[in-house]
Subunit: 199 residues, 2 copies
DNA sequence: AAAGAATCTCGAATGCAGTCGAGTTTACCT
DNA sequence: AGGTAAACTCGACTGCATTCGAGATTCTTT
């Protein structure tokens, strides 16, 4: 039975994560010290570093986990019956809402994910989840004749993703007052992609 | 004559900035301590805080200044004779090269500019410089009949800017091996915007 | 020119993220 | 069981950004 230790580890890990998320939500990320977390979780400060490489990672991990859940919920809820643009809007808006739900959390997550100190497999893997989903959307859209054939799906994914990131940057810089405005802009932008701006 | 003090301040400020940039370039941002900078600049550590609110701001300020110079150079060098897409590509590629010249500098600059802790006038002002330039480009393009009339220039600017940001994120996540690849992708994406992906 | 106000300067102190290494617990082997 | 290796834990320590506050310098006023 090599279960005692493993079980305890799980427990400790969860205790740390829960304590951290609770404190971050309550006091804010910067105002929460590792000592606070350690105390709240009932472990020594250094112990935390056996579970998470750095303070950031505690809730980066947490956010990422929650994001996966949101993904899956979305996949269940939304059929691909609607036009692919509407589908994409629903997809990105869910993410948008999720990310901006807590301004500070989202900010840190985005910073880390989009502009990492150096490229990591973790981030790549994270992105791959997007691309896989979008890939599926584009395939269906192509079959239905909604988009021209022979387009590089990776580039397409990148295009929509970029617009999503741009909207987030706009949000964080105060260019939107409400989610409705964001959705409106997203719709405009996505339609630009579809129809072009020339004709 | 209230000049002695003011002059000294200018001198000190420049000494700090120069010492900091020199050290950041040489040793890297994280590896350079405020004490190093203070010592190199010949002032006390605390003095620096009389000139810059935080370590980040020292070279954020510097980067921003240099960026303005790059902007102006660009405006002089490039005529608007070429097609507006080629103009935009030239414009954004210069910025791209500038930003990624020093990976660490660019990363910090982007993080701060795109996802600020809270919206600041400083960032707004920074962005406004873009929009003004792009505005001009779109007006000319419209007159020439290169793009359909009655489009919202702000949204258009946002669109191209988003793609630029997306490419940067791709670069920082290791999806490109060279600037040539970036430019190629940029061209593809910009053409998508022009012609749409439907027809 | 003298004194009082404003500004500038810096070494010392503070607070926090992250590391170290010694001590403790668990797993594995014979 | 008994002993050894591996993994876990934590208080003390390190290094750094940022703040404090007391003293020095410059400006202003009369």
């Amino acid at each position: 039975m090599s279960g005692v230790r493993a079980q305890k580890k799980q427990q400790t890990r969860r205790a740390i994560e829960e304590a951290a998320v609770e404190l971050f939500s309550c006091k804010g990320f910067d105002a929460t010290s590792m000592e606070d977390i350690a105390h709240a979780a009932g472990v020594g400060k250094a112990t935390i570093y056996g579970y998470f490489p750095a303070k950031d990672d505690i809730f980066l991990q947490y956010c990422d986990d929650r994001l996966v859940i949101a993904f899956n919920q979305f996949k269940e809820q939304h059929s691909k019956e609607i036009s692919f643009v509407e589908y994409l809007i629903a997809f990105f808006m869910i993410k948008f809402v999720f990310i901006t739900e807590n301004r500070e959390f989202g900010r840190l997550l985005l910073r880390e994910m989009l502009f990492p100190k150096e490229p990591t497999d973790k981030a790549r893997e994270h992105n791959q989840r997007y691309f896989d989903i979008l890939e599926g959307v584009f395939c269906v859209a192509e079959e239905r004749g909604e988009i021209a054939p022979n387009q590089d799906h990776f580039t397409l994914s990148g295009h929509f993703f970029s617009l999503y990131v741009g909207l987030l940057a706009g949000w964080y810089s105060g260019y939107f007052d409400s989610l409705e405005e964001v959705e409106k802009s997203m719709r405009t932008l996505f339609h630009q992609v579809c129809h072009g701006i020339i004709s």
